[in-house]
Symmetry: C2
Subunit: 712 residues, 2 copies
């Protein structure tokens, strides 16, 4: 018998209580820990969990501004056995489940089983992920965080306990959404039945479970993100174009490319270095190599040209690194690539690692990092530290894998925080409570559609994701991928294995041999136009990030999050919302047409201005230069003058496009770029009767509207 005892039950009796072995006893009621946030405690939770190791406090101010919800919306029950701890959360008929972190292979999670194992390059839909998060949200408007740093298994409905002979099937309660309204593909998941989410946390003899009320689905996500500390607010330059150079570039090559971009009018705010800047990369030394003899001078010259510099690295510390000796006592008991694994859960490793990065990079002006390899790649290379590792902080390898990416971000964040400088960067692993970290996830996988699904999925769990552009099959693929990148949290071209920009030549070998397409300038012009679209959207995007920061509302999110009552949105994982008013439906190479689902109320085609009524599926055949974008009726959409970088004052000059008759005012924020920016509000209002727009702005304001355009 496995379930030795039952350590806690709350809410209505769960299916677990039927277990022969369980000796059920009433648990303490859930504790309301923040407005609309309840905590259930089962048994003796582990010491090392996402909440116990968090560094950002919940954003109480934001939490208090969400609607009050009187009662905990989910009744969680639980118990422990020698296998670990098992909790159960009821699922109503026709309740959709989403989230569990970055999931590239699946979207709706109801009916599936996921073991949230930190693992690079997941090619099967098992729950393996760069950034799994033990958090889900449902269409009934609440979220659940199982506070564990273990590879928990989520059975998201569909497991049925044995009926005793003659026992009647429980009748499902009536639901506003009937099974017939669901997409056909979902009906097989027994959507219409009452079931439960079962979560098994291995090893642990207890766990805390947090429930986040909505009342709407997106408010539940907001509450989770605010509980996490509120969303990250990237600096304006972080929202510009990014370009990572080939991994063997030298200082001189970097400067040449930087000049070329300006000469050829390629927008770019951030240049990223890959491996060659370090004396040793696998494992890492964090020391500037001979290819970069004068890093301070390099940064100075880049700054003059209005570029920021970003450094690739990973945390595994090579024996020749000056960090190796001091980190030796504060690292795990297994090596990775002959290097140490810093124990980022302990203060010593954090301090040693942070101090060195501050002195050698950040003090020189390095703007941020790309933190690679911090996921677990044991099944795709077997190079990471094993789950059986142990660390001075008391974590084992499994716990460390669940927390490593985030504590790594946090270690570097401590430097930026100390220096009161904002950063924006990349990371390959993250987890629960990640919203406050200004880091964007990426993967070595490369399926364009999966990358878009990643964009939709990441927003459920406080994660940011970039469908970075690395290479392309052909010009069409290049443009289509670049369009998606331009409408993502980080507009990144990652040219780490091609010497020249991809618009000169998409084929890797030819590119590196300097053989360019005959028509490359034409391709460059098309790419430039896409990048200019990104630059035009920065004010709008920045405002969406301010809402992420203050209200927890993800700037990029699935359509269902805003329209959970419309089952037509439930399967939509190849479209996503960007901010409050835009819906993006990327086009894919080789597919001249695609379907787009428009939820309720009217939408305008961004390119043609054509108006569509909502609640319908349409077919679009976007020409190559257009990525399908739909603007919600009632929007004032600010578009900046396209510039080569965000330092250009022209980047504050706007055209305001008015969609529909009675648009709501749009609020933008003037970001002074500081650590705790003033974010002066600028309000754009359209008066339909006087047929004119007005700008309410502060005296010091930078934004100006050069033109108003009415789209009807």
């Amino acid at each position: 018998m496995n379930r030795r005892h039952f350590i806690g039950v709350a809410g209505s009796a769960g299916a677990l209580l039927q277990s022969r072995e369980a000796s059920a006893q009433p648990a303490p009621p859930p504790q309301q820990v923040y407005p609309g946030v309840w905590k259930f405690t089962f048994g003796a939770p582990e010491k090392i969990t996402p909440t116990s190791t968090r560094r950002y406090a919940p954003a109480e101010y934001g939490l208090r501004r969400l609607p009050a919800v009187p009662a905990c919306p989910a009744a969680v029950t639980g118990g422990s056995s020698r296998r670990g701890t098992l909790v159960s959360i009821p699922l109503a008929p026709n309740e959709g489940v989403y989230g569990l972190g970055l999931q590239l292979q699946s979207f709706i999670q109801r009916g599936g089983k996921k073991r949230l194992r930190v693992n690079a390059d997941p090619r099967m839909d098992t729950g393996d992920s760069h950034a799994p998060a033990p958090f889900y949200v449902t269409t009934r408007g609440y979220g659940v965080l199982v506070d564990t740093a273990r590879y928990a298994t989520f059975y998201c409905g569909g497991k049925k306990r044995k009926k005793q002979s003659g026992a009647a099937e429980p009748q499902p309660e009536p639901s506003a959404i009937s099974t017939e309204m669901l997409p056909a593909a979902y009906r097989r998941f027994s959507f219409g039945e009452r079931t439960e989410v079962l979560v098994e946390v291995p090893e642990a003899q207890g766990v805390e479970v947090y429930v986040f009320a909505g009342p709407t689905m997106r408010q539940a996500v907001q509450r989770y993100n605010l509980f996490s500390g509120g969303g990250a607010l990237p600096p304006r330059w972080g929202l510009g174009m990014w370009y990572r150079v080939k991994n063997d570039y030298s200082q001189e090559e970097v400067l040449n490319l930087a000049s070329e971009f300006r000469e050829r009018r390629i927008p770019c705010d951030v240049i990223g270095l890959e491996a060659s800047w370090e004396t040793r990369a696998y494992s890492s030394t964090f020391v500037w190599s001979g290819k970069f003899p004068q890093p301070a001078a390099l940064i100075g010259q880049l700054t003059q040209k209005h570029y920021r510099l970003n450094l690739w690295e990973h945390a595994f510390t090579h024996p020749t690194s000056p960090l190796h000796e001091p980190l030796l006592p504060y690292s795990g008991d297994y090596e990775v690539w002959g290097g140490l694994v810093p124990d980022f859960l302990g203060p010593e490793a954090r301090r040693i690692f942070a101090d060195f990065h501050e002195k050698e990079h950040i003090a020189l002006g390095v703007s941020g990092y790309k933190l690679d390899e911090c996921d677990n790649a044991d099944f795709t290379g077997n190079w990471s530290f094993p789950e059986i590792s142990s660390f001075p902080s008391g974590a084992d390898g499994e716990q460390m894998h669940c927390l490593f990416g985030q504590r790594y971000q946090d270690t570097l964040q401590s430097v930026f925080e100390k220096r009161r400088v904002r950063t924006y960067g990349l990371v390959r692993s993250s987890g629960a409570l990640a919203a406050p970290y200004p880091y964007v996830l990426y993967s070595d996988l490369y399926d364009h559609k999966e990358f878009i699904r990643g964009l939709a999925n990441a927003g459920f769990s406080g994660l940011l994701w970039t469908p970075e552009l690395r290479n392309a099959q052909n010009t069409e693929d290049l443009i289509r991928r670049l369009q998606s990148v331009a409408l993502s949290p980080m507009a990144l071209i990652n040219a780490w294995y091609i010497k020249s920009p991809p618009w000169k030549q998409v084929e890797r070998n030819a590119n590196n041999a300097g053989r360019f397409d005959a028509n490359w300038e034409e391709v460059e012009a098309r790419c430039r136009a896409v990048m200019e679209m990104r630059m035009r959207l920065i004010p709008y995007l920045h405002a969406a990030f301010v809402r992420y920061h203050r209200e927890g509302l993800p700037p990029f999110r699935a359509v269902v999050m805003d329209y959970p009552d419309d089952p037509g949105t439930w399967p939509v994982d190849s479209q996503y919302l960007m901010g409050e008013s835009l819906m993006v439906a990327p086009a894919f190479a080789g597919e001249p047409a695609r379907a787009v689902y428009l939820p309720a109320r009217d939408w305008f085609d961004f390119w043609s201005g054509r108006r569509y009524s909502g609640k319908q599926r349409i077919q679009v055949s976007p020409p190559l230069e257009q990525i399908p974008i739909f603007v919600k009726a009632g929007t004032i959409l600010p578009l900046a003058e396209p510039t080569l970088h965000t330092d250009d004052p022209a980047s504050w000059r706007l055209t305001a496009q008015v969609y529909g008759d009675k648009p709501a005012p749009t609020t933008l924020y003037e970001d002074d770029g500081g650590w705790d920016p003033a974010l002066t509000e600028v309000s754009l209002t359209w008066d339909p009767e006087r047929h004119s727009g007005s700008v309410k702005r502060s005296e010091s304001g930078q934004y100006e509207v050069a033109e108003w355009k009415l789209i009807v």
Copy 2:
């Protein structure tokens, strides 16, 4: 800190002892439990394991006939923590590791990490498998069984513990095989270093580890198989051709096809029914449906035509099955497809299940079963019972998944044993100690090369595997796949979704619509020739199975198993040995040529008779009608007259082909078909001086050699 205490250490100190947390204490020395088999005991092993639930006793007679080995060849250390139990087994420099059950995605296991999770259709190389086995064998000639029914994680070398500052790297011991001798692809796995296999058994507070001495690699596998009870010996008819009909066939359609095969001279010994024979299939009732109104008459008519009947089923028991009510108290607490999961670890469920199958099927003459769906498919459909299940026997769902396939085989085996009738069948899941079970594994995956890798891999772990033919891209693919099938443990055409045989039409829809290829008779003739090749090889193959049964030597095995001292064989996973004298190198559709590695000593091309010297890689370009087969010099190869079935007395009539100057005698066995067959030996001998062959046979003997052919 995780490792709370150290519960046992044996042999030389393992790396674990360096753990800060470990309080090491000397463990009792390993216990020699059988000749050449040692057992290490750590802590308090779980009650439910492969050895504790076994039903076949070790084959002591066979074990005693293997060479004596004075000392345990591996020093196992271990300890427990809250994570479970961890054991360590040293790996020498340049020691190759193989096994871990049916692994379709990888061959050599050194340098990899596998979590042995029972899971259908594994498409990533993570250890997920239909039939994982916690057993491996190394090129240094010993095997290791970790006796657990848990999803153990095997780190097969390469994980490095942190070196303390200034500590010298341990010098690797000298090895007969140097790193330079290894294939280039293997060098990246740090093959030249001394390392360890680390095995983590979750949940368990102890484990027993068995070490099997060789001294050679194949003797280590033999010892493991003999410890398992010795290999299965299929009845002769089981080695003939198998054909499974479309899943909706009726009794009449079966009989029509059976007649057609005889008329068209298609060899076939076994016809298999798929779902339509049951009143309900998902879940199963085990009750004959209206499509099969007279099962006894059907079997009678098939028997007259010398066919055996095999039934598809799975164990999950539908509410309308007569078994449902009696099984209710003896089943797990979760349903699958609305059906019960019988607790095959308890005597009651076994008895109820077995009795019904005996009475309703086996007593009627059903020859055996295809036991489907008994693996876990939670990540490819989420329909199986969860790991958190519990069973009356005390097993949880994880343990049950590890044991379910085998205990299911065993439940039905108990009927055949009771009736003293041999069977041969199919099963989709198996595990440790499986050798005695006359069941062959299969998968819904369908990559031809992976299927061949499966053939090579299964032999390391006491498993049989068929690369069954279902459909084909084109005629070439059809022939190539059929050739591989014909040289496998079960020559199975599984036409469960096509109405007519694939040689009439490979395209599914056209086949089901009755639109046949214009040249289908030509294709049929080619397929017939391949099937006749199978029929010719039955005496040879049967003798190989007798050795499996008596000596534990797998009839199908990887080349490295016989040639571990030749690193050229180490990566060879697209060739395999069949019996003592044949090496098969299947050809794949679309690849007109392939490389073949020939190990030491001379080999003959089976088709041309051309002689090759060994220790070389050759290129072959087999015409479509030939699958590359190489005959070891010194072989007398018996080939039967091809017949339509094994009941035909002509199937005992042989041509003996003599390869090389001084061939060793070949022994065949006359199988009387009984439960405990007499297996009268027949010896074929070639006298090179007199240039003539002779047969030493019993009076009652059936085998006769009609012709001797000398191939030089």
